[in-house]
Symmetry: C2
Subunit: 332 residues, 2 copies
């Protein structure tokens, strides 16, 4: 356990100094699975806030094989692997470092192969799904926002960084309130859907990443339930034809600028399925977050609520979240 | 029907002149559903080939609401809507034009609202799934490659444009050969899976877009079969836990640099499901395509093969491809 807030903040300061010392034109956010998905909100933030700097999210192995033509010494590459042992991500860090990029790795573990392949490492805090969140201002999403927004502050004079820091401190209260509000509801929902064969998730903008994580990493990986994270803007251009009274959907409604897309999906889903669960950030108490930054941070609180649902599902289905049939068990 | 090759080539020439006359730093590929997915290979091409120019693919509605900070008069925005009537895409064209971007729309139809919201329009050729492809060198994928690769030729002196043009001419032969090779096989496959509840698709790199189209637009939209296009690089970081003997997968193996990701997924799938269909571009006769460009064009031929499967599925399931329960029938 390396939940040492002071040290993490020092690690961040070293990176910020490195930002000052070099030109950065492009950010590559590189990881696998849930670690990749948690970078989606930071890409959304850069896409909206940056005037010159551009951002990409890549699966680590795709990143290496695709070999982006714009990856060079003016690139910032941020990687993440919870235990720092994902081989594709370690290889991606080395690959980027060899091209002269500034490489920064996020890990929960103190030392691991990923650290040795990167210029800088930052250790984030972490708590298992459903347990009390500690040091929420240095959890993985928060570190990513700090890294990306500070970059825009230094390079483009973006003014939102201080608001972010204040809001990250308010997150713990938001989690506590969400816990009180949703713990029992999550159990009720789990009882209702425990025998479902498939559950779709749907969201847009900064929330799409957590819809992906719940579909691909909770439902498919940890519960062996079929799923598919549908983008709310794409929903009406194909996927919505699958909707029927008995097809379950989990709709996420965030507070960012794409909320109208999620609202439009909700109107339709309310009409055509009897199995809709909506998790709406507007119904959560986020009064400890700054209004200017709320849209970016809402996914972190929705994700907390989703984790309560994951724990409840695992319990009622008697299928613990760490159960695997292939991962770390067979060759692949 | 506007399959007038000469006119389409003239339309392209006008756009190339516009390229000469302005600085372009960033390309936004903007559309909905199948039209959005067909832009994925062009993003892959730019990601690999460009040294400075960057590319994004956006759903039209997300594009407008997210409002990218880097969208300006140095942006090229390429949009697509088959009949030119997708309201979100028309709005996106107008939105981008108002910001000073160079906006180019692809449509099959000659005149439509999208045309009036764009600086330039290009009409592409099209044939219904399963019928003989006409003028394959000006079909939608080909037009997109012409637009993106010519941009890199003009702005960055990329040398592959002529090879692209020669290869596009060879496509029609590749389609004809694929037709002979796969028509009967597609029917056999359709017989086998006609009662399946869910069929996953999986691919990476330039092929991911067609895996998306088959999952979201053929299976979910046109056949009401559950699906999910899984990225082959992400497969081992969550989704692969869903695999079981009786879970059907369609794996696409292309010829681009990410093929090792698809090959790795194949090794696993062969072992753990009895219901794997692999469509491998290496087994197709692509001898009329230039080796340097084959990886980029393989998705077009794999997509042709997938369309044979779509037609066969629709026939054996007695569920015609144009059948809808919501689209253009109810309010949404």
């Amino acid at each position: 356990m390396i939940e040492n807030k002071e040290r993490t903040l020092e690690q961040l300061e070293s990176v910020f100094k490195a930002y000052e010392q070099r030109e950065i034109e492009r950010v590559f956010l590189v990881a696998c699975g849930g670690s990749r998905a948690l970078m989606v909100p930071s890409k959304y933030l850069i896409d909206r806030e940056a005037k010159k700097i551009t951002a990409e999210v890549y699966n680590s192995n795709e990143f290496i094989h695709l070999n982006p033509g714009t990856l060079n010494e003016k690139s910032l590459v941020i990687l993440c692997s919870h235990k720092g042992k994902t081989p594709e991500t370690t290889d991606a860090a080395q690959f980027a470092k060899d091209k002269g990029a500034l490489t920064i790795s996020l890990m929960y573990i103190e030392d691991a192969p990923l650290k040795r392949a990167s210029n800088y490492t930052i250790n984030y805090s972490w708590a298992p799904a459903g347990s009390k969140e500690q040091y929420s201002e240095i959890m993985n999403y928060g570190i990513l926002y700090r890294l990306t927004l500070k970059l825009l502050s230094i390079k483009e004079n973006n003014q939102k960084y201080d608001k972010l820091i204040n809001s990250l401190e308010g997150l713990e209260k938001a989690f506590d309130k969400a816990n009180v509000q949703y713990r029992a509801k999550a159990k009720e929902y789990a009882e209702k859907v425990k025998d479902e064969n498939i559950i779709y998730t749907i969201a847009s903008g900064s929330n799409y990443g957590i819809a992906y994580t719940f579909a691909d990493c909770i439902l498919m990986e940890m519960q062996w339930i079929h799923s598919h994270p549908i983008h709310a803007g794409e929903f009406f251009h194909g996927p919505f034809e699958i909707v029927d009274k008995d097809v379950p959907f989990i709709l996420l409604k965030g507070l960012d600028e794409t909320r109208p897309l999620e609202e439009r999906a909700e109107v339709f889903l309310k009409k055509y399925t009897d199995k809709l669960l909506t998790i709406d950030a507007a119904c959560l108490d986020l009064s400890d977050l700054d209004d200017d930054i709320k849209g970016y941070l809402a996914p972190m609180v929705i994700n907390y609520v989703l984790r309560l649902h994951a724990v409840a599902l695992a319990e009622v289905r008697n299928h613990p979240l760490p159960t695997r049939r292939y991962m770390f068990k067979v060759d692949y």
